[in-house]
């Protein structure tokens, strides 16, 4: 009997988290250049010598490397991500402001691409070899080659500027004073284009997994049995094939989330959307290294959490996984 969760998988997630933290710790200390700048951001150049000495003491830059490493871990466990001298704010506050927006657009786009990918993949596999199938397959391969930022820029040029339909930047209309339902509508209108871009980018991954999984399932004996006993096409497709083929999609969705987060760095930059991804871009262009590192850690934790959730969900959706 297997436990609620596979211990080996848990160890794998712990290793990934440790790798991310260690990488964050080592990169600024091993790279050529002034480690203080690489740790605290380029704006430390504007500080007084006393302030700089204080940072060096706080991070422990004068201590041996292993002591610095332990201190780094201790800071992370106490939720201390450091201070952004560029923004003059604690980094935790910056992340708290930005994270909800990113969760909003990634959540919506993941849901949309899951539904679209599963339906299209099912239809495509059901009519494998047909013109519909080959057309969809080629379309998805083409979508995978689409540069994400370019798609976003085209959306802005055409939908926002030429047609004037939707806002082209930000998450809310600034200083609009909208409240209640109108405020929600404003947020949704701003989210349409970023969500559409992210969804279009995520659909091919879901589609290809669903299609492949369906093709595997179609060859199973119980499908032949269902057909032989005279079940209708619709019943075989939805009751037998799609139902059994859907479980790998859950794992893929967790992986897609990692890609979607990466995608937000680009999409939020194009749409000037005030999320965590845009924060990464701002930190990179402003050489505000600690902010960039903290955002990377948050992305890592979110992806690992999503994978954990997928592991827990999988046996609920697919009873076969419970017994093995």
């Amino acid at each position: 009997m297997k436990g609620l969760i596979d211990l080996r998988r848990l160890g794998q997630y712990a290793a990934a988290a440790a790798a991310a933290v260690t990488l964050n710790f080592l990169l600024p200390r091993l790279m050529p250049g002034n480690p203080l700048v690489l740790i605290a951001g380029v704006d430390v150049g504007l500080l007084t010598p006393e302030q700089r000495a204080e940072i060096i003491a706080r991070v422990g830059l004068d201590a041996p490397l292993w002591q610095q490493y332990l201190r780094y871990w201790a800071d992370i466990f106490t939720g201390d991500f450091g201070y952004s001298f560029r923004a003059s704010r604690p980094i935790v506050d910056m992340i708290r402001d930005r994270l909800p927006w990113t969760l909003l657009i990634t959540g919506l786009s993941l849901a949309i691409s899951a539904v679209a990918g599963v339906i299209l993949g099912a239809v495509s596999a059901w009519r494998r070899g047909s013109k519909t199938d080959l057309g969809m397959l080629s379309g998805m391969i083409a979508l995978e080659a689409l540069p994400p930022f370019w798609l976003g820029m085209l959306f802005i040029s055409i939908v926002s500027v030429q047609w004037g339909l939707l806002p082209s930047f930000g998450a809310v209309t600034p200083a609009s004073g909208l409240v209640g339902w109108e405020h929600i509508e404003d947020i949704l209108r701003h989210a349409v284009l970023p969500v559409a871009t992210l969804s279009i980018l995520s659909v091919p991954g879901v589609y290809l997994t669903m299609r492949y999984s369906m093709l595997e399932t179609l060859g199973e004996d119980y499908i032949r049995t269902a057909r032989a006993k005279g079940a209708g096409e619709g019943r075989v497709l939805f009751g037998h094939v799609a139902r059994n083929a859907i479980s790998p999609v859950i794992t893929v969705l967790a992986i897609r989330l990692g890609f979607a987060f990466g995608g937000t760095v680009i999409i939020e930059t194009v749409f000037s959307y005030p999320g965590l991804g845009r924060l990464v871009f701002e930190a990179v262009s402003g050489r505000d290294y600690p902010v960039m590192q903290a955002a990377f850690l948050v992305f890592t934790v979110a992806v690992l959490a999503a994978n954990l959730a997928a592991d827990l969900l999988y046996p609920l959706v697919d009873p076969r996984a419970r017994t093995s």
């Binding site: 794998q12 997630y13 290793a15 990934a16 790798a19 991310a20 990488l23 964050n24 990169l27 600024p28 790279m31 690489l38 494998r128 070899g129 047909s130 080959l134 080629s138 391969i141 083409a142 995978e144 080659a145 689409l146 540069p147 994400p148 930022f149 370019w150 798609l151 820029m153 085209l154 802005i156 040029s157 500027v161 082209s168 492949y212 093709l215 990692g258 890609f259 987060f261 990466g262 995608g263 760095v265 680009i266 930059t269 194009v270 990464v280 871009f281 990179v284 262009s285 050489r287 290294y289 960039m292 590192q293 955002a295 990377f296 992305f299 890592t300 979110a302 992806v303 690992l304 994978n307």
Partner: protein
Amino acid sequence: MTSKAAAGRAGRRRRRGRTSDVLGICGVVTVGLLLIMAVFAPWLAPYDPSERVGRPFQPPGREHLLGTNDVGQDLLSEMIYGSRVSLVVGIAAAAAALLIGTAVGVLAGYYPRRLGAFLMRGVDVVLILPFLPLLIVLAAYLGRSLLNTTLVIGALIWAGPARIIRSQVLSLRSREYVLAARSMGAPDRWTIFRHVVPRTALLATGSFVRAVAGAILLEASLSFLGLGDPIQKSWGSVLFWAQARGAFLTPAWKWWVLPPGLLIMAASLGFALIAFSLEERINPRL
């Protein structure tokens, strides 16, 4: 099974095979044209892309077929020279990834117990970390140069190929000729290079071409975020400047935003189509 159904299925399979061949040829033609563009760039481009040859923000005209950018450089020449960066970085990064991926995959497959288990844990970690943020963090620390872009991309995309090659090696390992070679006392190194590595070549070619398609997109993304080589402008960096100067908010998007994106897509799609058609041959069931 009626003969009509069987004939229908055979027809479908033929159509599928034909389609994948046609797609593969499309890919080869696209990649071939882009390669010609990259190799003969100095003869094809009307101007030096780094020179200021006209008034800034010019729309397309007889002298500048795609207009000029914000400092008066010829956009068409930038497009033509940009193919060099895209293809060189894409192919070099994929080659680096394949080298690491094959080494890890072969070792992990041939010594599946301790070394293999250890290596595959590493592969799992690389695969699970959020990819693009990690890429950006590494690129930001390493600094902006073509070599760094190539290295960073190569260092992050090897895990997928490693997994594919490992599973192939695992099955090769128990084939008779490998067992025969080993039982006759052939050293591991000889067996690996004589019997195992050559038989992963087909699979490795497929993953290499697919990796090029991905690496081209990644290079474009990094350049778009302003992390590309500041001297060698790629299609992605052209879009970075188009974005920074707000070209997509003006009619200039038609000649400043549209062409570089189409070229990035053509390059990535060309390689993806070749990969698709190769994979179809290796494993026709999919």
